[in-house]
Amino acid sequence: MRSTPDSSIGLADDRDDAAGDRDSRVARDTFVRRTIGAIALLAAVGLGALLSLAVGTKPIAWGTVFDALASHDASSSDHVIVRELRLPRTLLGVAVGVALGAAGALMQGVTRNPLAGPGILGVNAGAAFAVVSGIWWLGTSNVLVLAWFAFAGAAVASVVVYLLGTAGRGGATPVRLALAGAALSALLGAWTSAVVLLDQQTLDAFRFWAVGSLEGRDDDVAWHVAPIIAVGLLLAFGVARQLNAVALGDDTARALGTRIGTTRTMSLVAVTLLCGGAVAVAGPIGFVGLVVPHVARAWFGPDQRWLLPTSALLGAALLLFCDTLGRVAARPSEIQVGIMTAAIGGPAFIILVRRARMAQL
């Protein structure tokens, strides 16, 4: 297994001064590299947001976009499009991308498993289960109602996975959490597919929800979900330092004075809030949570204090660019953002995996 070159934990006791100098230079280089990366990510999110406001089925000039933001004129149809349609959608894109990116980094940190996206906690399966049940029983396609169904399903599923993962002797080991999550996801997925197989109308509505999209979500949904995601983010940043210790293994972490159980529980609560919020707004977008942290880790290293915020930014940037591209790729109809992220991100990720030295978890 490769060790990451920028590990901040050095054994400096028996080294001479030259080596000490080299260490501090490495540490400085790492800091510069990380800062540059973070600034670039911020710029990417800003650029993505601007593009998302200006580009679409109806292209709008940059000047008009700024006018619409600075001095809104309700009689101009361009202004209305920017303010009423594209601005909420852009903000939702940022919120969902941030939530998924951070949740992915958190989940891989907690389970120490590169295959564990946030979905492994059963969040997506629970949300899909609840949405299918909602469509089937209530016949509703109201976005807000389905959003709350999705959030409730996601929350219940992750709590059940956590309880199953921690029950019995030994407590919650990462492997056990992962297995419990996968098993419960499969169980919920079985019900979901049974319903859609028996009821064609539900299948017809469900297939569009299931790909993940930001289309036609009004700001109502955003106001309901934004606080949930915000709380999740705060929690996530709160446990970042402890997660670094958990990464060294349970025994070492305990020796360093980390309360592993608390850290794990807090992390999973954060993941539930973040992913539940994201899946409620946009449906299941699996790619972002699973892949973005790997990319962020390749540049910023495994330190969760950097990894969490940068994964969040990278998730937001990816989602904004893909959403914008999906609007113009197959005009006049749109390609859903869930399809675009995977279609563009997948090949890019493979190239990255082949070229870069991917940091180990």
């Binding site: 492997v175 399809i339 991917m358």
Partner: protein
Amino acid sequence: MVCLVVAAVIIAVGMYSISVGDAPVPVSDVIATLLGDPTADSEFIVGTLRLPRALTAIGVGAAFGMSGAIFQSLARNPLGSPDIIGFNAGAALGAVGTIVVWGGSSLQVSIGALAGGLSTALAVYVLAWKRGLEASRLVLVGIGAGFSISAVNSYLITRADISDVQRATVWLTGSLNGRGWDEVRIIAVALAVLAPLAIVMQRSLDRLDLGDDTAAALGVRVGRAKLGLVLVGVGLAALGVAAAGPVAFVAFVAGPLARRITKTPGACVVPAAFVGALVTVTADLGARRVLAPTELPVGVMTAAVGAPYLLWLLTRQSRTGAL
């Protein structure tokens, strides 16, 4: 020993599964028919309809079980499955494409699935190869490829006619409805070739588990052993997918269940085959009878059968011996 018990349970469940249905056949008649002394009715119902279906279920389950155990051990990850080399995603794309774009027959769908799955697996293997095959790189490349391919799949599903979507969904769930002796023959031949290979390779799989360097020191030719394991694993998955579609969950659950039942660490390919077969046969019984006379696809029930048992085992066992 454990395998014998599981085999006995498989036979019992299989017998019961053959005897129940819209036209029940008493178990005694089933046994008589199997021993070559059929009555007029049981000849057709057992011999033509239910026996080949039960045998297909057993073969498919065994194939998925072994394939899953191999990939979980190879990737050193309990979440591993033929998915990690992109096989299922590729097969799904091949099948959905055949259904949605060309409206193909079920034989064409199977061929499309095989072509899609095998070419994806090959592509992932080649893309992950860089001075040797590292488990972590294989996993990551597999994730990327799987997502890109599923994106195309979702695109087709959102654009297609709803009746095609329904047919595709049934295939994607995995179904044994209407399987006959043709399928059984193909599975039997393929298993006869692949299963012994898998059993022989168990040795090198165990040694690879200790790490590439240790395995090499123990006389395993690492590159060649991994290639062989991937080939056999993909071949087994391909066999199952061609016969029944990507029956959900069997490949995932068979390994962990087998390991917990036999209480041995490491990959246990043979017990996983038996457990996979048992899960699939039981699930097929459920799929046929839960909403009778409507037959559900077997993939709906595999998770309903396998997941609760795995969850129960997880809550019971201490962390020792768990992978």
